[in-house]
């Protein structure tokens, strides 16, 4: 698990603790498990908890912090 997560560094900011969330786009939804496969701006993929923002659909933009989507974000047309 440790090898899979990016490390904090000063060029990207604190990945988890700075109370800053990152925008991610929904690729697939696993409604049964309450998870969505999402991709960030660099196309890095991760599994995201969606209980606080569902229902979501592929193409939606979510704001993700500590593995959990905390808000929806607008997507430009």
């Amino acid at each position: 698990m440790e090898g899979q997560v990016p490390h904090c560094d000063h060029t990207t900011g604190c990945i988890t603790c700075g109370d800053e969330a990152i925008p991610m786009d929904v690729l697939e939804v696993d409604a049964g498990r309450g998870l969505a496969l999402c991709a960030d701006a660099e196309r890095r993929r991760s599994s995201v908890e969606i209980a606080l923002v569902d229902p979501v659909a592929p193409g939606d933009r979510l704001l993700v912090h500590a593995g959990t989507a905390i808000a929806r974000a607008e997507v430009a047309a």
Partner: protein, 371 residues
């Protein structure tokens, strides 16, 4: 990614900077506090303060949860991590925060099983994969992070996971702001409000700042144009004699926040009567602990912890930095005894910390300029 790149457009940034220059009163000094460590990081990463007129000063607030954790809590975490059966999990930055004698990283070097996780759900997965071990998650963060911990605890309870517990250090944003505003040595004209905390709590909790203290708040996004536009909105409020909560970050922050997140937090957490903040002292009702319904998952009830208050190192001036009273470089040990590699104070540990942001960007920029 759409709606990210547009907010980093340098030409538009200069246009907004020009509008700020036109809006400021040249005979007035403006001191604005960015509450969130994420803003501090963006300001130095993109050199936003260089685009502002000289009479607009940005000061850094207490919004990095790593920076405000007192040493005694780190010691408590290390005491738990030293139990042989424990896998102690925490976010990356937390591992380097100094306790009174060592950090979690140093405890790991001595044999404690301390592991970095990206989310509390990773810690939960670790517990499922290691049924013979006790997995403890060191929870830290403002209301942005607390819902993630709350959902994890709900999952742990629903699944009856007996080998998972949480040492809760979550803090809340409003009490420290009130404490700052009550501080006699603080002179501020307005606040750059925390964008992502507000996605959860909404804008309403900040209404006391204009109502009780007469200072404007503008909730801001984290891209360079977001922050510049926020500064412009605050300057305009001050110029027009208005004083209210405005929301620059409407593309993400609903005024009422995320009601579902607030609901899960209220089920899992309750307010602590008081909690110590580094540099700010004890603040009433400023942190969360697990509610009685989740007592079985409370690491502080499961393990004995020292619970001792440890004074900050004398040389360290994190307290004044966190209150915006001094700039990081004005600290006696900044960049000499205290560097990101060998941090004395917490502000130098996290990239969101004001001192680390100055060290990593400000100093680098000045060295480049000299070269």
């Amino acid at each position: 990614m759409k709606f990210v790149e547009e907010f980093r457009d340098a030409k538009l940034g200069k246009v907004v900077a020009g509008e700020i220059l036109a809006a400021v009163d040249p005979d007035r000094h403006y001191k604005l506090m960015e509450v969130c460590g994420g803003h501090t990081h963006s300001i130095y990463r993109y050199g936003i303060d260089d685009l502002l007129p000289e009479n607009v000063e940005l000061v850094h607030g207490p919004g990095c949860p790593v920076c405000v954790i007192p040493m005694g809590r780190v010691d408590d975490g290390i005491a738990i991590a030293r139990h042989e059966e424990v896998i102690f999990t925490c976010f990356g930055d937390m591992m380097r925060v100094p306790g009174s004698t060592q950090s979690l990283l140093e405890a790991k070097a001595e044999g404690a099983d301390v592991r970095m996780v990206y989310s509390p759900l990773d810690a939960l997965r670790l517990a499922k994969a290691n049924p013979d071990r006790q997995v403890v998650f060191f929870a830290i963060g403002f209301e942005t992070t607390a819902p993630s911990t709350a959902l994890t605890m709900m999952r742990a309870k629903a699944e009856g996971l007996a080998n998972f517990s949480c040492m809760c250090n979550h803090v809340t944003i409003v009490p420290p702001l009130r404490a700052l505003l009550d501080s006699p040595d603080l002179r501020l004209d307005g606040f750059i409000g925390p964008g992502h905390v507000s996605t959860v709590v909404g804008a309403r909790p900040f209404e006391f700042i204009p109502a009780d203290y007469g200072k404007p708040v503008v909730i801001s996004g984290f891209e360079p144009l977001d922050i510049l536009q926020t500064v412009l909105m605050i300057i305009r409020q001050l110029g027009e004699g208005r004083c209210e909560v405005e929301n620059q970050y409407t593309r993400v922050v609903p005024y009422e926040g995320n009601l579902r997140a607030l609901e899960v937090m209220s089920q899992v957490f309750e307010l602590r009567p008081h909690f110590e903040w580094r540099g700010l002292g004890f603040i009433s009702q400023s942190a969360l602990r697990l509610a009685d319904a989740y007592a079985d998952f409370d690491a502080e009830q499961r393990y004995e912890v020292p619970g001792v208050r440890v004074a900050d190192p004398k040389a360290c001036q994190c307290g004044e930095v966190l209150k915006g009273v001094i700039k990081p470089w004005e600290c006696k040990v900044f960049g000499t005894a205290c560097t990101p590699e060998h941090a004395i104070g917490t502000c130098m540990v996290s990239p969101e910390g004001a001192c680390a942001a100055y060290y990593n960007y400000g100093r680098f920029a000045s060295e480049k300029a000299v070269a």
